[in-house]
């Protein structure tokens, strides 16, 4: 006898409790749930419960579960739109049941033995994706169902609508903050950090003096220099770039110095027996050996740079820029616009990080952590 998964059992209980407490919602406006929709949701969820515990044909069961649970969830969430705040307990019970079944589905998918490499990659992708999608579904269902005030937390769909409707503004902000301030500051800051690290490597005295200072400065709230930079370089993007330069400089310096010490004694001795000079050793041995450290700094800096530029804009900007938009729209209580801007920041940050990570894979193809994967 297989032991019953607790998610399925609990989902069954919730399903039955939800059925006992129908209807799903008080009709706030024109379109409440129809009897057909309610019955369909109940039936789909009950069927999912039985499929999830039956264990027949794992792959087919998972596909059925996937379809049934999501159709039920989208019927629930879709039906509540227009009836904000009208949801009754049974709505939340059924939503919770669907969520538990989705969790069960994730457990089933994780347990599947993927045959080919492609299937394994798909499996590795679908589990976190489902998790993320369910956060959005629960967010949508709870904010709309319980009628959470719009200024507190807007549902994801209205954020998406706002996002789609204000593409030009979001685009202008993106250009101002990312393509001007962040990119300029990032290149200058990382470049300067790198060059100073090479200098420090040439002059041991400099290294001994700079490294402790760099380590201490890395822990300081450097972001605080933002108002000073705004005062020095004016309201436009150069002041933001300056903040980014200072924020990215020290991680780059510390990591590059650590990386330059990473090559082994044997290899360095080998270079000596080849009679190679400092620069040859640097370019052919020590910099490649330092690459993982340098890319680590570049990755850390990609996030720091965005944060620096956005926060610096809180201290004064021309009337464009992501930080400016966030602070003014918060003041006007347009919280959906703020979330749209945060979505842009998140996408930009992830792409920035992703590009650095891809370059890293291409450059350090020889490194065990890349080769082994």
């Amino acid at each position: 006898m297989r032991h019953l998964a607790w998610q399925s059992v609990l989902a069954l209980v919730l399903c039955l409790a939800g059925a006992a407490m129908l209807p799903l919602a008080d009709a706030v406006s024109a379109l409440p749930f129809t009897v057909g929709q309610t019955a369909a949701v109940e039936l789909l969820l009950l069927a999912s419960v039985f499929v999830s515990v039956s264990g027949i044909n794992p792959l087919g069961g998972a596909i059925f579960l996937f379809l049934a649970v999501h159709i039920a969830a989208f019927t629930l969430v879709g039906g509540i739109a227009g009836n904000e705040g009208g949801a009754r307990l049974s709505f939340f019970l059924l939503l919770a049941a669907a969520w538990l079944l989705a969790w069960r589905l994730n457990v089933l998918i994780s347990g599947l033995k993927a045959g080919s490499r492609g299937a394994r990659n798909f499996q590795r992708l679908i589990v976190p994706t489902l998790f993320g999608v369910w956060i959005l579904i629960l967010w949508e269902g709870i904010t709309r169902g319980a009628g959470v005030p719009f200024v507190l937390l807007p549902p994801p769909t209205s954020i998406a609508v706002r996002f789609a409707n204000s593409l030009p503004i979001l685009g202008a902000d993106l250009v101002q903050t990312v393509f001007k301030a962040v990119v300029a500051g990032y290149v200058i800051g990382c470049g300067a950090g790198f060059i100073v690290a090479i200098l420090a490597d040439r002059v041991p005295f400099l290294r001994k003096g700079m490294l402790p200072i760099g380590n201490v400065v890395s822990a300081l709230p450097i972001i605080g220099i933002a108002p000073i930079m705004v005062m020095w370089f004016g309201f436009d993007w150069p002041s933001k770039a300056a903040v980014v330069v200072v924020m990215t400089f020290f991680p780059m310096l510390v990591n590059t110095v650590a990386g330059l010490a990473a090559s082994g004694h044997m290899e360095r001795d080998l270079m000596r027996t080849y009679a190679s000079n400092y620069w040859q050793t640097l370019f052919k041995l020590r910099l490649p050996a330092a690459a993982p450290f340098i890319f680590n700094a570049l990755k850390i800096n990609s996030t720091l740079a965005l944060i620096g530029a956005i926060v610096a804009e809180f201290f004064g900007t021309p009337i464009v820029g992501m930080g400016f938009r966030i602070s003014t729209e918060v003041g006007r209580m347009n919280i959906d616009m703020v979330w749209a801007e945060i979505a842009v920041a998140a996408i930009a940050g992830s792409i920035f990080y992703g590009v650095v990570a891809l370059v890293e894979r291409a450059v350090t193809f020889w490194h065990p952590s890349v080769r082994g994967g």
């Binding site: 005295f205 108002p227 956005i310 918060v330 945060i342």
Partner: protein, 291 residues
């Protein structure tokens, strides 16, 4: 005396060099405004006096280090601690929300890490999001959190602490997952031969093994909490705290005040990181780390 020759001398030389560069830069950056002032007052000081003037402006573009030190000393030790001008008071405001956020963030991070290590589904579904969330400029939501909480009547410590929590739980969760997985197969097998239960293996092997990872990431987390607390103070309309002091300074061009607030923030940061380091050493020694 190795550490003296290897560390103290180079560091002090570099610090001295930075100070010299700073004073020189202060002359050049403050010179235009000073020339303007002198022209208006119809005075033509000689070079030495002029340099002295650039180091003694009331609202300099770049204050000289001694001006900052003087302001810092005055606002730290000479002003009453309860005064709004006192840096001790403002640092305390920031420190309290930092500590509250850091404590809850660390706790949350540890709980998430324990969940991830013991529940495979959580590992697969949560871990990618935790890593992805590190690429997102989370700090951008700070003003929204503060304003939204203010809209429903919650102000003061909680929203700021919430931002600090948010910033500090990622590093702790990631570091702790690494730490809890750090015992090698041999040690786990040994626990198995002792017939240790999962709980025993957790407390007697995994937890002690994870301590160095935990405290390393806690150092990162405490610095992040402080940044979160400072940024969270920006949109509150400059009530109190280091961030508020910075904002007020930037409104009224009180550059010296801004710099001394920065110094205060740095002192707090160094103290926090050092405290975490000391506690970490102590805990590791108690748990059997070899010195």
């Amino acid at each position: 005396m190795d550490s003296f020759r290897d560390k103290i001398v180079p560091v002090s030389v570099i610090v001295a060099a930075i100070l010299v560069v700073w004073y020189v830069a202060a002359i050049f950056m403050n010179a235009p405004y000073q020339r303007e002032l002198n022209a208006r007052a119809h005075v033509t000081p000689d070079l030495g006096a002029f340099i002295g003037q650039t180091w003694a402006q009331r609202k300099p573009t770049l204050p000289a280090p001694h001006q900052i030190a003087e302001n810092f000393f005055k606002n730290t030790f000479l002003v009453k601690i309860t005064s709004r001008r006192s840096l001790v008071y403002n640092s305390w405001v920031t420190l309290s929300s930092t500590m509250a956020g850091f404590a809850s963030g660390t706790l949350l991070g540890i709980l998430i890490a324990v969940g991830i290590v013991h529940v495979p589904v959580l590992d697969r579904s949560l871990m990618p999001w935790i890593i992805a969330s590190q690429t997102i400029p989370i700090l951008a939501i700070a003003p929204m959190v503060v304003v939204v909480f203010a809209a429903i009547g919650i102000t003061g410590l909680i929203p700021k602490a919430l931002i600090s929590t948010y910033l500090s739980f990622f590093p702790v969760a990631v570091g702790m997952v690494k730490g809890l997985r750090s015992p090698d197969i041999l040690h786990l097998d040994l626990m198995h031969t002792y017939n240790a239960s999962k709980v025993q293996a957790f407390w007697k092997l995994r937890v002690p093994a994870s301590m160095p990872f935990l405290f390393t990431s806690m150092k990162v987390a405490v610095a992040a909490s402080l940044v979160g607390a400072i940024v969270a103070e920006l949109p509150t309309g400059a009530v109190a705290g280091i961030g508020a002091k910075l904002l007020a300074g930037s409104y009224y061009s009180q550059t010296i005040d801004m710099w001394s607030a920065l110094v205060a923030g740095s002192v707090v940061a160094v103290l926090l990181v050092a405290t975490v380091g000391v506690v970490g050493r102590f805990v590791e020694l108690r748990m059997g780390a070899r010195p």
